[in-house]
Symmetry: C2
Subunit: 260 residues, 2 copies
């Protein structure tokens, strides 16, 4: 199985992309709704939660871990790799690769939670691949609560987006990385506010393609992944709002199973 | 000691009110920042966290528990009373008493998180005290993230407040209960948007007065409370934003001590 975890339901944009790109493999998802959001927590807390989540997925039979949460990916990836002997994918590196390959001017914008932007991980990885890149990062902490409220077309959401994106527009970025798994839900609104000429990199699709290439190149690993059975969606807490967002992301009702 | 807990730093508005009304007693605070916010979690999760938080305060020497979190007060008060043999105060009942006593028309508005409003607790308690009261409740889930961002004077905050408060204004409530410990920070903005004739009930002050009366009437209990030593502020996670909000609430720097 391919195991995917996130602090909540935002990572389901990643699970959906994996279902689309790798429909032949079974997937198990864990959303840590009891402790969501991670973006405002300390790196130590995020690391501890991420190890617990990975352990849960491995116990359920996962042979690949996908960290579908930028806050966790930015601070806990190395720790997870040190602890568990399975391939670990995360949403940051594939998005960075897509941005660096796609950008012409080298002026790249990144939006994310405070934890993700504060970690400086995108800037560091983009610069490592392209020394002359100019990276402009903008924390957008209100976007997750706005999405979770379902305020997708509200005037306030558009104003807040405009306020967050104006500096990136002024910096004339030609590529914008959505550094949070909730943001693909706002993709069209973001596109309109950042300018038509800016390419938007959605990490969900990027990580799904990265796993595809890895499995194509490693048939022995691919053979260990379970193919039969339904995909399972576990959460550490259940709320009506979470079920609603899950349905919105998948375009169908998704049964969430609660675990402690 | 008087023990106070909240899901985060919002409950510090209650701690500050207790410091002002009961300066002679020592206070110990616990803010569960590692699992904040509670307002979007299930009642089962909130109950479990509340019992753990109470146990921590009792171990630190608390002889009174104050639930300074509306979400926890609305679903976990009875459970805490069943488990621990100490007086348990919460922010809801004193605010309800103040609203019922103060309202002339009996048209009372309540604002809070989804968990608090969804529990129906304010409506139930107000009706129990005044059968003819008309209670209008409005969930305001974006206000906590806006306060935690420090967006206290932003146009978007004012617009969102206007949107949340318009139905209560239309219902011509003469009393509005701030059913979340973060909201006193927005009190002046709320006052301007709900109309001058509406009295605002701030639960922080109400619970501090309730504890004062209780201790005045029970000198034996008062004698068990520690008076010497500094007040302590413990949190389960430390972030720069939390320290900033704590300073904003107290008007001075407050040292937050991290515990697991």
């Amino acid at each position: 199985m391919i195991g995917v975890f996130d602090s909540g339901v935002g990572g389901m944009t990643v699970a959906r992309a994996i279902e689309q790109v790798l429909p032949e493999y079974r997937l198990v998802y864990f959303g840590d709704l009891a402790r969501t959001p991670y973006g405002s927590k300390s790196p130590q807390a995020i690391c501890r939660y991420s190890l617990e989540n990975s352990e849960f997925l491995l116990k359920k039979g996962a042979r690949i871990i996908v960290i579908a949460c930028n806050s966790a990916a930015s601070v806990a990836t190395e720790e997870i790799r040190r602890h568990f002997p399975v391939p670990v994918f995360e949403v940051i590196t594939p998005a960075v690769d897509a941005a660096v390959n796609g950008s012409i001017s080298g002026r790249i914008g990144v939006i994310g939670t405070r934890a993700t932007v504060g970690s400086g991980i995108y800037e560091q990885l983009i610069r490592a691949r392209r020394g002359d890149a100019a990276v402009f990062s903008q924390p957008c902490p209100l976007l997750v609560p706005l999405v979770e409220e379902g305020w997708l077309q509200r005037r306030e959401t558009k104003m807040i987006l405009r306020r967050y994106l104006a500096p990136l527009r002024d910096h004339q970025v030609d590529t914008l990385v959505l550094g949070c798994t909730h943001y693909p839900i706002l993709k069209e609104l973001i596109r309109r506010r950042v300018g038509k000429k800016t390419a938007i990199v959605d990490s969900s699709a990027a990580v799904a393609r990265a796993i595809r290439s890895h499995l194509d190149a490693d048939p022995a690993l691919a053979a260990t992944l379970q193919r039969d059975g339904e995909n399972c969606y576990y959460v550490s807490d259940v709320t009506p709002a979470a079920s609603q967002i899950a349905s919105m992301i998948f375009g169908r009702s998704v049964p969430l199973q609660k675990v402690d």
